[in-house]
């Protein structure tokens, strides 16, 4: 039991650490940001989670196209689903943060737009899946769309914010988070608490749904 599930326990303790150290730990007092800087542990970790899940989803889609195993399709769709949930949470935590620092929930920042586009694309992926009734065909065609959309989306998210001005920190050069910029007290909680903690939680959620889907697939096949 412990050998198979150690990472779930690890996820629990990492998140416990993130919440306690995140809310009680010392943070640099910066103008405008003030205490909202603690949102770093939640908002940014959601984006990391979303990216990781979309990458995992596209890997399973490629695997499905290569080997035609129905289980790969279930993995792909469930990781995409978790990615969308994390993306929505990232968007919400981000816009609340933006309200208190930039003054508005939505300010057409290139990265906000990129996130909105990503969510629209993956919602379209679900619409496409559900519009097909044949399981095999729906799996193959949505896998093709997943690969195509992923390849179109990620240059957008990674390159375009580098070309235009952004309100996000980093600005010109590196639009994402500057690894050297982060305060040393926060670095530990962020890299070793929040990111692995939230990601493992997302994997946990996905595996629960995957097990459920695999079970119903087996049930369907064998009566």
């Amino acid at each position: 039991m412990l050998r198979k599930n150690w990472w779930k326990i690890l996820s629990f303790f990492l998140l416990l650490y993130t919440f306690t150290a995140g809310f009680l730990g010392k943070v640099p007092a910066k103008p405008i940001l003030n205490e909202t800087i603690r949102n770093l542990y939640f908002h940014v970790a959601m984006w990391f989670g979303m990216m990781i899940f979309f990458v995992v989803s596209v890997i399973y889609s490629i695997k499905y196209l290569r080997h035609n195993r129905p289980s790969d399709d279930i993995y792909a769709v469930e990781f995409a689903r978790t990615g969308v949930v994390f993306g929505l949470l990232g968007l919400i935590t981000g816009s609340v943060w933006a309200r208190y620092t930039w003054g508005d929930f939505w300010s057409n920042d290139p990265k906000q737009l990129g996130a909105a586009i990503a969510l629209l694309i993956y919602l379209a992926y679900f619409v496409l899946r559900n519009s097909l009734t044949d399981i095999d065909k729906s799996a193959r065609i949505s896998a093709v769309y997943n690969v195509f959309a992923f390849a179109m989306l990620f240059p957008t998210i990674w390159i375009i914010p580098r070309l235009v001005e952004s309100l996000h920190p980093g600005g010109m050069g590196n639009p994402a988070l500057d690894t050297k910029d982060i305060d040393s007290r926060m670095r530990l909680v962020f890299w070793f608490g929040a990111i692995p903690g939230w990601t493992l939680l997302g994997v946990w959620i996905s595996t629960l749904r995957i097990r459920l889907q695999l079970f119903s697939l087996k049930h369907e096949l064998h009566g």
Partner: protein, 220 residues
């Protein structure tokens, strides 16, 4: 190796011939272009430069969805099976992309002249705008060619194509709009080469992806 271009050419010829035989669908799209631009003219009169630019690119997007959706959707299951037995999927999608790009170039020229006729002439560098709009029309048509193939497999109408395609095309469309502002006045735009390179690499990536992925859509 040397057969490939000939096969692709034959497939393009087939598409052109079909277009001539079924002229109603071509005229349908043409009428769509004309009436939409006419409605725009009635609604907006002669708008400012940036609005002109934005409207132009939005028009290109809608024309593209309509013009390209029909090329895949008008083919019945039987005819697809027939093509399947005749040629390889790679040749088929490449021929389709070239044909669609040519069709969009034509539509682009028609809509540009209608725009100038009805919505005013704000261009300071018309030739530059022409080049950019042709480049843009090709880029958009490549993306939608592949999406039309997906939508056709899903036996769906153009609505599904719009859902699948609009979020994907936003970045390209925004880059094209930025690029085309150059044609309106003598402003200097920074990062120009990087935008052009980005757009070109997008196009190459789409072609490569389609060649890789289309065979999976093809077999049933």
């Amino acid at each position: 190796m040397f057969r490939a271009p000939r096969l692709i050419l034959a497939l393009i010829k087939k598409d052109v011939l079909l277009e001539f035989r079924q002229q109603y669908s071509f005229y349908g799209v043409l009428l769509y272009v004309a009436s939409t631009i006419f409605v725009l003219y009635l609604a907006m009169g002669q708008p400012e430069n940036m609005i002109w630019n934005g409207l132009f690119w939005m028009m290109q997007l809608f024309i593209c969805v309509n013009a390209i959706a029909k090329t895949f959707l008008q083919e019945g299951k039987g005819r697809q099976l027939y093509f399947y037995s005749l040629c390889s999927p790679v040749h088929f999608i490449l021929a389709r992309m070239i044909f669609n790009a040519a069709l969009m170039l034509l539509m682009n020229l028609i809509s540009l002249s209608l725009f100038i006729l009805l919505l005013g002439y704000p261009l300071a560098h018309p030739l530059l705008f022409l080049v950019i709009s042709c480049f843009g029309a090709c880029s958009i048509s490549l993306v939608f060619s592949f999406l039309a193939a997906i939508a056709a497999r899903a036996q769906q109408n153009a609505a599904l194509m719009a859902i699948l395609g609009f979020p994907l095309i936003i970045p390209q469309l925004m880059l094209l709009m930025r690029l085309s502002t150059l044609a309106f006045s003598d402003v200097f735009q920074s990062g120009l080469t990087s935008i052009i390179l980005l757009l070109a690499s997008f196009d190459i990536m789409i072609v490569v992806l389609s060649v890789i992925l289309f065979p999976f859509l093809w077999k049933d």
